[in-house]
């Protein structure tokens, strides 16, 4: 990953890089997390948002309660069969691009309740997960490491490459020719 160096910003400068890089770099440093705290991990997520472990350092302090305004869903806590359809619904309500962090042992694989009759063993059975954070509950520092891993992942996101090209730019194959 080629970051612009700090020296480049000390004078009026022209930096050449890809559009993908700029968009992803900006996106990764202002992620809006979704407050999807289900259980005990939610309290650690709250603690990480407050004074001592300040998540605002990473630009992620804008926790929105509605999925429609969020990029990142931090599933913090155990998901059970009653909650699973709700989780899917909320994930679907988020707009692209969206990422999911599975925080804690319960969201990763069921945790201490893995053999319950009602417990979903891992949130990745319902939504695709980008970063797994183990721990029960993970310390706020562990959550931050997960968020930093996610930042790296977001910076690799190819925005321009995935935009569908309008049909007019792709020449149609001539009649009788193979495409």
């Amino acid at each position: 990953m080629r970051y612009p160096k700090l020296e480049h910003f000390q004078e009026p400068n022209v930096i050449t890089t890809t559009a993908d890089f700029i968009f992803s770099w900006a996106r990764s440093h202002s992620v809006f997390p979704f407050t999807y705290g289900l259980a005990c991990c939610a309290i650690e997520m709250l603690s990480s948002g407050f004074a001592r472990f300040d998540v605002a350092r990473y630009g992620m302090e804008v926790f929105r309660p509605t999925p429609r305004q969020c990029d990142l869903m931090i599933v913090a806590g155990t998901v059970n069969e009653k909650m699973a359809p709700v989780l899917k619904r909320l994930y679907d309500q988020m707009s692209e691009p969206k990422w999911v962090i599975s925080m804690g042992a319960c969201a990763t694989s069921g945790g201490p309740f893995y053999d319950g009759y009602n417990v979903v063993n891992g949130v990745d059975k319902i939504v695709p997960v980008d970063v797994y954070i183990p721990g029960c509950p993970p310390r706020p520092e562990a959550l931050f490491q997960g968020l930093l891993e996610l930042q790296v992942k977001i910076q690799q996101h190819k925005f321009v490459a995935e935009t569908p090209k309008p049909a007019a730019l792709t020449p149609a194959p001539a009649a009788g020719e193979e495409a």
Partner: protein, 164 residues
């Protein structure tokens, strides 16, 4: 200023004796479990009547219900009522045997309003039906869950648990 606790302190054995005397036929096997609980067995048919009289008892009014638990004892089910008396500051644990095949017992919601959700949970988990309950439906599990998980013979199924 209002609700007092322990206005009529009684010795545990005295309470047990008093209950055995007042509820002779309905409450059997009344014994004391130190330090503050009297344990008794109640006849299933007499439960409602016993509950009303326990609550209205002049000296040891058991006015508050702590919880109702369903227990699966394999040969039969049991509905356990744990009630508290403000006057004597003691507890009473009532065990009501319920046959597994026809698992029904009268509700005590009209006597102790707190029983509402506790009985729903007992129905949900163990499958004891409370006759006369205003709204007996599942409380903790999803509405279309099949079976009663805290029964000893409950087996995990794919319908209930598709994301195992």
């Amino acid at each position: 200023m209002g609700l007092e606790i322990g206005t009529n302190p009684m010795d545990m054995d005295a309470i047990a004796a008093r209950l055995a005397a007042d509820f002779a036929a309905a409450l059997t096997d009344v014994r004391v479990q130190e330090p503050d609980t009297v344990v008794a067995r109640c006849d299933r048919a007499a439960l409602k009547d016993v509950a009303r009289r326990l609550k209205a008892h002049a000296e040891i009014g058991y006015e508050t219900l702590n919880f109702v638990a369903g227990v699966d004892k394999v040969r039969h089910l049991e509905s356990v009522y744990h009630v508290y008396s403000w006057k004597t500051n003691t507890y009473l644990e009532l065990h009501v045997e319920v046959p597994t095949a026809a698992a029904e017992v009268d509700t005590v919601c009209d006597v102790w309003p707190a029983a509402d959700w506790h009985e729903r949970e007992s129905w949900d988990m163990v499958g004891i039906k409370y006759l006369g309950h205003p709204d007996l439906r599942r409380i903790l599990l999803k509405d279309d869950f099949v079976g009663h998980p805290l029964r000893k013979d409950y087996v995990d199924s794919v319908e209930n648990h598709p994301h195992a």
